[in-house]
């Protein structure tokens, strides 16, 4: 097979599984090391630079990094990356001196943002730091978008939102709260150089089955109900509640209902437990609060009596797979099940809604009613209009919205400077040896064998008594250190120099995971199974080096490497070295440069 080109930043980036999986490419091992070193403010700033909302994401992120974490392939559970992010936020102290400031003299360009959710906030932060005059229009009274309206306070305290949204708005961004944009045409007519749409997916899907209209008073759309709870318009619910849907909104609904008088709260889902869209930990949190999750039941009717909801009728189904492996939910033929209840919360999905975008202003929509967006630049077919977050490609999550915000900001910056937005700036990359002495590395190379530490929770009676009492208490200092030590430092790369190798096999013998093999060359498919430990995970690369004296090749399977550095410690000639790879994605450049095209 071909020798690996380690000069290509993508190669080592992929080895840092967590960072690669993060839509915003947060340098995870970098900030985890800072947490272990007690440098919480620095860890926070690494996060703030990449994902803008560390305290919020440290509590609510969908954590694409954790299933990707190498530790999860080495032992039972990945590093609790998300909750370590929260640690950085909890213990950072006063970071006001660390935050960058917007340039005193702007560049004279103005950008409008529709909606003050995570996508807009991320894009506005980047552009404000680049000297842009940013104006955010928000229909609600306060900034935050779904972070503020849909995520219950027992998962995310309001103080955290206020703080982190504040850091962004304090960069000189204008917030026009309580201002709903009703017409994009009108907005385009105003003196803005670009418009960013980050209005989310604001419409909760309804369930039109018999009885919907008659029992309407006690049937609520999940995200609207959560929003009303969040703003304090609703503080009670019936004793018996049925929540329809299996996503994270359903989990937030049922747990909120438990805190507002719901004693018998049930979640009823069409699909099976494993196929539910909700994150596993959110399902566990619901179960922990005595909320049963009933699966394979499809609602067919809201029952009512003299205009008042009495319950929901369900048909029982089972999953069947056809020849192509496609799953269908087929009625079992059993008698329908009636679940009596006082209130129903419908959380069966969200939809985009763009009634305020005129269809004749040069912004094309596709057949599904979604705006046509270039996934690379997030530019619409109107050159001055960009979209991000749920508004761009339908409901996803906060971290994707932040990532879109960064990319859209880069595009807006390039368009404003008269450059092609499809030409993306390269990431900043450094690769530096960590060798300090013969057996000394500037990272903690010892591998912890601890299993994942659970985050302490507030006692259940106390948690259920107050909807504003945060359930997760977060790691304390010591737990955070121990959990941080579980990180394998995958960004400290094993870098091999064939020229120096004497083929003594010392690295092969010391490697605890049998990653390294010296063997005759061959095509990758043939080489993989004959390595010392067969490399059967095709998602993980083989690091191949040529130029050895015997004509063999060095093949290292990246899959389960612990990055312990023992290969480099054992190497008599320094052919192996441990080098820290730090990649930061390109963002809008911070001021001090002219607006003339580069």
């Amino acid at each position: 097979m071909d020798a690996t080109d380690i000069a290509d930043p993508d190669y080592f980036h992929k080895v840092v599984d967590c960072q690669y999986a993060c839509p915003a490419h947060t340098p995870v091992p970098e900030y985890i090391r800072l947490i272990a070193a007690g440098r919480h403010a620095d860890a926070y700033m690494v996060n703030w630079h990449s994902n803008v909302l560390p305290g919020i994401l440290g509590r609510t992120c969908d954590r694409p990094c954790e299933p990707a974490c190498r530790r999860g392939r080495v032992e039972e559970a990945p590093v609790a990356i998300c909750r370590l992010k929260r640690v950085a936020a909890d213990f950072k102290g006063d970071i006001s001196n660390c935050l960058p400031k917007a340039p005193e003299r702007g560049n004279g360009k103005r950008v409008a943002f529709v909606g003050a959710g995570p996508a807009s906030l991320a894009a506005a932060r980047d552009l404000a730091l680049g000297g842009y005059d940013c104006v955010i229009f928000e229909a609600d009274a306060r900034a935050g978008g779904m972070i503020r309206t849909q995520i219950p306070r027992f998962r995310l305290p309001e103080t955290v939102i206020d703080e982190e949204v504040g850091y962004i708005l304090d960069l000189g961004i204008t917030l026009r709260a309580g201002t709903r944009i009703d017409s994009l045409r009108t907005l385009l007519a105003e003196p803005f150089d670009a418009i960013f749409i980050g209005c989310g997916a604001p419409r909760g899907r309804d369930l039109n089955i018999p009885g919907r209209a008659e029992a309407a008073a006690n049937i609520h759309i999940g995200i609207d109900w959560l929003s009303s709870v969040s703003f304090g318009h609703i503080d009670r619910i019936g004793r018996r509640v049925v929540v329809l849907g299996g996503g994270n909104t359903a989990m937030d609904c049922c747990r909120s209902a438990r805190r507002l008088g719901g004693e018998e709260v049930r979640v009823v889902v069409r699909s099976g437990y494993a196929e539910m869209k909700a994150s596993p930990w959110e399902k566990e949190d619901a179960l922990r609060e005595d909320i049963p999750i009933l699966n394979f039941m499809v609602p067919i009717e809201f029952t009512h009596e003299s205009g008042r909801l009495t319950g929901v009728l369900f048909e029982k189904v089972e999953a069947r797979h056809d020849d192509q492996g496609r799953r269908a939910l087929v009625p079992t033929g059993e008698a329908p099940v009636h679940i009596p209840c006082d209130d129903v919360l419908v959380a069966v999905g969200q939809e985009n809604a763009f009634p305020w975008i005129e269809r004749d202003i040069g912004l094309a929509f596709d057949r599904n009613g979604m705006p046509v967006v270039d996934p690379l630049t997030l530019q619409s077919t109107h050159p001055r209009v960009f979209l991000g977050g749920d508004a761009a490609f339908g409901p996803k999550n906060i971290i994707w919205a932040v990532a879109h915000g960064h990319e859209a900001a880069v595009s807006i910056d390039r368009v404003c400077r008269g450059l092609d937005p499809r030409q993306r700036p390269a990431p900043h990359v450094s690769l530096a040896s960590q060798k300090m002495g013969i057996h000394e590395w500037s990272y903690d190379s010892a591998v912890s064998t601890d299993h994942r530490f659970a985050v302490p929770h507030r006692a259940k009676p106390e948690a259920l008594a107050d909807i504003r009492a945060e359930v997760e208490l977060g790691y304390d200092d010591q737990l955070a250190f121990a959990e941080a030590q579980r990180c394998l430092n995958c960004d400290v790369q094993t870098v091999f120099s064939a020229r120096l190798c004497i083929e003594c096999d010392a690295c092969v013998d010391i490697c605890p995971m049998d990653c390294i093999t010296f063997a005759a060359d061959g095509p990758e498919a043939e080489l993989r199974p004959r390595l010392n430990a067969p490399a059967l995970n095709p998602d993980q690369a083989i690091y191949l080096a040529k130029g050895l004296k015997t004509g063999r090749v060095m093949a290292k399977d990246e899959d389960v490497c612990l990055h312990c550095g023992l290969c480099a410690e054992r190497c008599p000639t320094g052919a192996w070295d441990m080098q820290r790879f730090l990649l930061t994605t390109a963002q809008v450049e911070h001021a001090c440069r002219s607006l003339s095209p580069a």
């Binding site: 003594c504 010392a506 995971m513 008599p572």
Partner: protein, 351 residues
Amino acid sequence: MTFLPKPKLHHPELPTNAVGLTRRDYEGAISTLCAGCGHDSISAAIIRACFELALPPHRIAKLSGIGCSSKTPTYFLGQAHGFNSVHGRMPSVLTGANLANRDLIYLGVSGDGDSASIGLGQFAHALRRGVNMVYVVENNGVYGLTKGQFSATSDRGAKSKKGAVNADTAIDLAGLALELGASFVARSFSGDREQLVSLLKAALLHPGAAIIDCISPCVAFNNHAGSTKSYDYVRHHNEAVNRIEIITGREPIAVDYAPGTTVAVTQHDGTVLRLRKLAADYDIEDRAAAIGFLEGRRREGEIATGLLYVDPDAEDLHAHLGTIETPLNALDETALCPGADALAAINAALR
């Protein structure tokens, strides 16, 4: 060398052998030898050979003398019995242990200083007596612990790291072992893992005195140009006479070679060593020919490796002496102390 212990974590697909152990279960403490030492490679080969033969580690006794080589038993088979003896005296201690308990598998580990200099007499007599053991000489041609003086196995004309030229004749431990009557004689190279592992496995299965003279480059003091025991020199002058496959009872013969290129040696305990011949007319069971062959290769400046000689009908010391089959520690008091009458009978027989 490293200061950190090797992490206990291992590859999720790490295989287990017939006794349910992984290769990692055959490891010992972390090595404190210099990074890149050939001895560490030999330790790794011993670990693999014992794992692949599914030997229960607690039924192995590893014995050594003094020197870099003799430190290595700490670095493999952490669950085995161990005895770090006096300089050059490992063969005597091993002989004694073997006489007391023939049920254990004996692995003697020594170096060129320990076996060819201070312990040459011990080396000779253990082999001459046919003690059932595997005797591994980790042969680097220098005294590494005292900064690289020539040892007794250094070739005449070899250069030290500082440039001095060796004027003395080298002792060829494999040749000496042939002379002394060892029933399994092999030479190998720490840089040829496949060969070394198969030779170790064959030696462990051999019911007699087996010796492997294993060239093991000293990275710190004997891996330079002018050395005849460096990685580069041995790789260039290595001439393997054969490759071995070990066939124990239940394994089918996996690979077929052209007729005439393989030879099977059935030992009297039933194990079969199948050799793929690399040197066409080499007769593995002909001791005189083996001695001649070694001399011929030496004259050409080549290093003959592989299984040089095996006696399929080897007998060991216990057979020669007619000792009791039961280990002494398993005999009860009446057997061990037969009483005054028995002593009187023996004394009477000698009058």
